[in-house]
C-alpha cells in the first residue's frame, strides 16, 4: 500500500513536469506576446521592444522555461508579467473562492446524486428509473451557459429573488451566503448530479447482477439490506471514482459559471492569463489544476483499493 502510493506520487510529479512543458510550448505557439497584449493600441514597435527586454522576452524560450522551473523548485512561482504581483498571491486570493464553490456544490450534489442513483438502481426498469434516466440524459446534454442564462433571466432579472452576479466578498449572514451561491450551484448541479447519479446507478447495477447478490436474496435477506450491506461496499470503488472525477471538473471546468456570474475563481484567472500571455501565471494555474486532478484521481484509486479486500493486502 505505501509503496503503491509512493509510486503514484512519483508518476504524478513526472506528469506535472510534462504538463508544464506542454503548457509552455502551447503558450509560446499562441500568436502575439505579453508585451503586445499589455500595450494594446499603444504597441508601437519600439515600445514593444522596450517592454520585451524588461520582461526578458528577448531571451530564448528554453532559457525562460528553465528559469521558471528553477524558481519553482525554490518554491518561487515568480511574478505576473502583467502586473508584477507575486503569482502565489494572485492564486492565493482566488483558490479559496474556487475551493468554496466546489465544496458547496459537492455538499449539495453528492448526497442528492447518490440517493437518486441508488434508488434508480434498486428500482431498475420501473417508471421512476425511466423518467429519471430521461431527465438525467437531458440535464447532461443541456449546456451550462443555457441553464445559467435562463436561471439568471428568471430568478434575477424577472423575479428579483437572487442576484445576477455572485461576488463572495460581501457575505455576512447565512441568507446572503445562500443568495450568492444559489444560482452558480444550481447551474453546476444540473450536470454533476446527472452524471454522478448515472454512474452510481451503473456501478450498482453491475454488482446487483452478480450471483452472490442472488444468493443473498435467496437466503431471504431484505432488499434494503442486500443493497446497503452486500452490494454497495463492492460498488464503492467506481462510485468514488465518479465523484472524484466530477469534483475535479468543479475546480477547473467551471469557467462558464465563473464568467456568467462574475465569480472570482481560479479558472477565470487562468483564462485572463492566457489572454494576456502571462506565462508564469498560466503555468502556475495549470500546475494547480493538474495537481488537484492527480490528487483526486489518486484518492479515488486508494479508495477503490481500500474497499476491495483482494487489493487491500498487497
Amino acid at each position: 500500500m505505501p509503496r503503491l502510493i509512493a509510486s503514484r506520487l512519483a508518476i504524478s510529479l513526472l506528469t506535472l513536469l510534462i504538463v508544464s512543458m506542454l503548457v509552455f510550448v502551447a503558450t509560446e505557439l499562441l500568436p502575439g506576446d505579453v508585451a503586445q497584449a499589455v500595450l494594446g493600441q499603444s504597441a508601437t514597435p519600439d515600445a514593444v521592444a522596450a517592454l520585451r527586454s524588461v520582461m526578458h522576452l528577448d531571451q530564448p524560450g528554453w532559457w525562460r522555461y528553465l528559469t521558471w522551473l528553477g524558481g519553482l523548485l525554490d518554491g518561487d512561482l515568480g511574478r505576473s508579467l502583467v502586473n508584477h504581483i507575486p503569482v502565489a498571491q494572485l492564486i492565493g486570493s482566488r483558490l479559496p473562492n474556487s475551493l468554496l464553490l466546489a465544496a458547496v456544490t459537492a455538499a449539495v450534489c453528492v448526497p442528492v446524486a447518490l440517493t437518486l442513483g441508488i434508488i434508480a438502481a434498486i428500482r431498475r426498469g420501473s417508471l421512476y428509473d425511466r423518467v429519471a434516466g430521461v431527465l438525467m440524459v437531458s440535464a447532461v446534454s443541456v449546456p451550462e451557459f443555457l441553464v445559467a442564462t435562463l436561471a439568471v433571466l428568471l430568478f434575477a432579472v424577472n423575479l428579483h429573488w437572487l442576484p445576477a452576479i455572485s461576488y463572495g466578498g460581501s457575505i455576512h449572514s447565512p441568507l446572503q451566503f445562500f443568495r450568492v451561491f444559489a444560482l452558480p450551484v444550481l447551474t453546476l448541479s444540473f450536470v454533476i448530479i446527472a452524471q454522478m447519479a448515472r454512474m452510481t446507478r451503473a456501478a450498482l447495477i453491475s454488482v446487483l447482477d452478480s450471483s452472490y447478490i442472488e444468493m443473498a436474496l435467496l437466503k431471504g435477506a431484505r432488499p434494503v439490506r442486500v443493497v446497503l450491506y452486500h452490494a454497495l461496499p463492492n460498488a464503492l470503488g467506481p462510485i468514488v471514482n465518479a465523484v472524484a472525477l466530477s469534483l475535479s471538473f468543479l475546480l477547473g471546468g467551471v469557467i462558464i459559471v465563473e464568467t456568467i456570474f462574475n465569480y472570482p475563481g481560479l479558472a477565470k484567472l487562468m483564462v485572463d492569463a492566457v489572454a494576456t500571455r502571462d506565462m508564469p501565471l498560466v503555468q502556475a494555474c495549470a500546475m494547480v489544476f493538474c495537481t488537484a486532478y492527480l490528487l483526486l484521481v489518486t484518492f479515488a484509486d486508494v479508495c477503490a483499493i481500500l474497499s476491495n479486500p483482494r487489493l487491500r493486502d498487497r
Binding site: 499562441l30 500568436p31 502575439g32 504581483i85 442576484p163 445576477a164 461576488y167 485572463d272 492569463a273
Partner: protein, 531 residues
C-alpha cells in the same frame, strides 16, 4: 438656437443652482461672448438645472467590460477603460478635456506658452493628496518625468518623449520645454496617463492621489472601492459617498446584473442590447458620439489592390447608411473616409460626403484593371463590426462584377498576425484626444501604424506646421486640408464613427458625453449623483 459647450452649460447650471439671477447669467454670457440669442437655450437649461440639482449621498456599484489581473492603479500603465475609470476616481491631471476635446484647467490653474515650445503651468494652490500632503511642483515634475524612464514601461512614453525638460520654477509653477512646438501639449496632459501622483511613489498597491475618491480597496481582477474625499478641491464634489467598481467581462451578464438591480451603471454595451435596456422601465442608454472607428485598410504598396482606382471603388462600395442601421442600430455617425469626427473642434463639415454609388464604384473598378480576379479581404470580430461590413461590401461588389472574398479569422492574435500585414483587412481605432495625435499615429508617412502605407510629404509638412500653430482658426484650416488629403488619397475607408454606449438606472444623473470614451470619458465618478 445657440449651441453651448458642455463646459458653458455646466457654468450656467452651476450659477442657476447657486441662485444667480437672470441678469447675472446674461452678464456672464456677454463676457463669454455668447450673447442674448442664447436665452432660449438658457431657459431650457434653467428648468433642467432645477430638476437636476445634484444630491449628496448614496453609493453605486458600477461594472466595466473587463476585469483581469492586469488591472492597475499606476497611471503610466493603464491599458483598458476599466483602468481609466479607476485612475479617474483617485487622481487628477493638470488639465482635463471637455465635450469637444478642448483642454480645461484642472490641477493646473492656468497654462501659457512661448511659441508653443516653452510651456508654463501654474498649479492650483491648497490641493491635498489623500494622505494630507499638499501638492507641489515636485510631485508634478516627478509624475511627468517618470513616463520618459524606460524602466517604468509607460504606455505614454512616445507622447512624453517630446517633453525635453520638465522643471519646477517655483513651489506652484512648472515649466516644460518641448523638443519642437506643440500647441496641443495641454491636450496631451489631459489624457489618461498623465495623472499626477506623489513625488517618489513606486508602489501602486493602493492609490494616493488628489482625486474625488479615496482608494479604500483595490484587488486586481476582483474589484475596487472608492470613498468620498471630503477634502476634494472642487467645491461640492463629489456627490456620492462610495463607488464600487468591478468588471463583468460577459456582456449578457453585465446587462442582466443591471436589470436585476445588482449594479447601477454598466459600461460598454453593444447596439443590439439597447432595445432590451430601453424596454425595461427605469433604465436608460447613455450614448457618447465618439471618434472610434472600424476602417477598411487597403495597402497601397501591395499589388493588385494598391491601386488608387481600386481604393476609390472600395470607398464608393460602402453603403454607410445601411451599415449604420443594420450593424449599429443607428448608434453611429456617418463618416467620410477621414479620421476626424464631428465632435472634434477641428472637424471640417464642409467636406462633401462620399455617397454609396455603384456607378462610380464600377467606373473606378473598371479603370483598376483587376477584372474577375478574386480579391481577399480579412475580417475579424477583433475589428468590431468588420465581419458584417465585409459581407455588406461583398454583396455590393457582386453588383459591379468585383469578386470579393471575405475571409473571417478569429479575434485572438488578429492584431499580431493580420493587421498591418494583410493586403486588405480591417482595423479598429479607439478615440484619440486630438487630431494631431490621431494623424501622427496613423497617417504620417513614417508612422509604424500607417495602416495603408500612404506617403505624402506635403501632408507631413502640414502636420508639423499645424502642431506648431498657436492660432486656432489657422490650425483649423490646416487640419481641414489634411482631412481632404486623407479622404481623397489614403487607402483607408472609414464608413462610420461608432458611438460608445453605456446603460444605467434612470436615477443616475449628471452624465454628459465626453468623446474620449464612454462613461463620460471614464470620468463619471465625480460628476454623477443619485436622484
Amino acid at each position: 438656437m445657440i449651441r453651448l459647450s458642455p463646459g458653458e452649460r455646466g457654468t450656467i447650471e452651476q450659477m442657476l443652482r447657486r441662485g444667480a439671477t437672470r441678469r447675472d447669467v446674461v452678464a456672464w454670457l456677454g463676457s463669454a461672448g455668447i450673447g442674448l440669442a442664447a436665452t432660449g437655450t438658457i431657459a431650457t437649461h434653467a428648468t433642467r438645472a432645477l430638476a437636476d440639482t445634484p444630491k449628496r449621498g448614496g453609493q453605486i456599484r458600477v461594472a466595466g467590460y473587463s476585469s483581469s489581473t492586469a488591472d492597475t492603479l499606476d497611471p503610466a500603465k493603464q491599458t483598458l477603460s476599466t483602468d481609466y475609470v479607476r485612475c479617474n476616481m483617485f487622481y487628477n491631471g493638470l488639465t482635463t478635456l471637455d465635450g469637444n476635446l478642448t483642454p480645461q484647467p484642472a490641477l493646473a490653474e492656468s497654462f501659457d506658452s512661448d511659441k508653443a515650445t516653452v510651456w508654463t503651468f501654474k498649479l492650483r494652490k491648497g490641493v491635498q493628496f489623500h494622505d494630507g500632503k499638499e501638492m507641489t511642483s515636485a510631485d508634478v515634475v516627478y509624475s511627468l518625468n517618470r513616463h520618459k524612464d524606460p524602466k517604468v514601461g509607460s504606455i505614454a512614453k512616445t507622447l512624453a518623449a517630446q517633453m525635453q525638460e520638465i522643471k519646477a520654477t517655483g513651489p506652484n509653477e512648472i515649466q516644460i520645454t518641448l523638443a519642437g512646438p506643440n500647441a496641443d501639449l495641454p491636450v496631451v496632459l489631459g489624457t489618461f496617463h498623465f495623472k499626477i501622483i506623489k513625488d517618489g511613489v513606486t508602489d501602486f498597491a493602493t492609490a494616493v492621489g488628489t482625486g474625488a475618491y479615496k482608494c479604500k480597496e483595490f484587488s486586481p481582477g476582483v474589484h475596487s472601492i472608492g470613498v468620498r474625499n471630503e477634502n476634494y478641491w472642487k467645491p461640492g464634489k463629489p456627490y456620492l459617498d462610495q463607488i464600487e467598481f468591478f468588471g463583468i467581462a460577459d456582456e449578457a451578464a453585465r446587462v442582466n446584473a443591471l436589470l436585476a438591480g445588482d449594479i447601477q451603471f454598466a459600461g460598454g454595451i453593444s447596439p443590439h442590447v439597447t432595445r432590451q435596456v430601453k424596454q425595461a422601465p427605469g433604465f436608460e442608454v447613455f450614448e457618447t458620439k465618439s471618434g472610434a472607428y472600424t476602417d477598411l485598410i487597403v495597402r497601397l504598396d501591395t499589388p493588385p489592390v494598391g491601386n488608387s482606382d481600386f481604393v476609390m471603388a472600395m470607398k464608393y462600395l460602402m453603403d454607410r447608411a445601411q451599415m449604420r442601421t443594420a450593424i449599429y442600430q443607428g448608434y453611429a455617425v456617418i463618416a467620410n473616409d477621414q479620421p476626424v469626427d464631428p465632435t472634434n473642434r477641428f472637424y471640417d463639415a464642409s467636406l462633401p460626403q462620399r455617397p454609396f454609388d455603384l456607378d462610380k464604384a464600377k467606373f473606378h473598378f473598371g479603370k483598376s484593371g483587376i477584372g474577375s480576379t478574386a480579391i481577399d479581404v480579412i475580417v475579424s470580430p477583433a475589428a468590431t463590426g468588420s465581419p458584417d461590413m465585409g459581407v455588406l461590401m461583398q454583396d455590393a461588389a457582386r453588383k459591379i462584377g468585383l469578386n470579393l472574398n471575405v475571409k473571417r479569422v478569429p479575434a485572438d492574435g488578429y492584431w499580431a498576425n493580420y493587421w498591418l500585414k494583410s493586403a486588405m483587412c480591417f482595423g479598429n481605432i479607439n478615440p484619440r484626444p486630438s487630431a494631431d495625435i490621431l494623424m501622427t499615429l496613423f497617417f504620417k508617412s513614417d508612422a509604424p501604424w500607417n495602416e495603408s502605407r500612404w506617403k505624402d510629404p506635403k501632408f507631413d509638412q502640414l502636420l508639423d506646421a499645424a502642431r506648431a500653430e498657436g492660432d486656432v482658426a489657422r490650425r483649423k484650416q490646416m487640419y481641414s486640408d489634411m482631412q481632404r488629403m486623407i479622404t481623397n488619397d489614403a487607402g483607408i475607408g472609414i464608413p462610420l464613427f461608432i458611438s460608445l454606449l453605456d446603460a444605467h438606472i434612470s436615477g443616475l444623473k449628471g452624465l454628459q458625453p465626453i468623446p474620449t470614451g464612454g462613461m463620460m470619458g471614464y470620468d463619471f465618478a465625480e460628476n454623477v449623483w443619485l436622484a
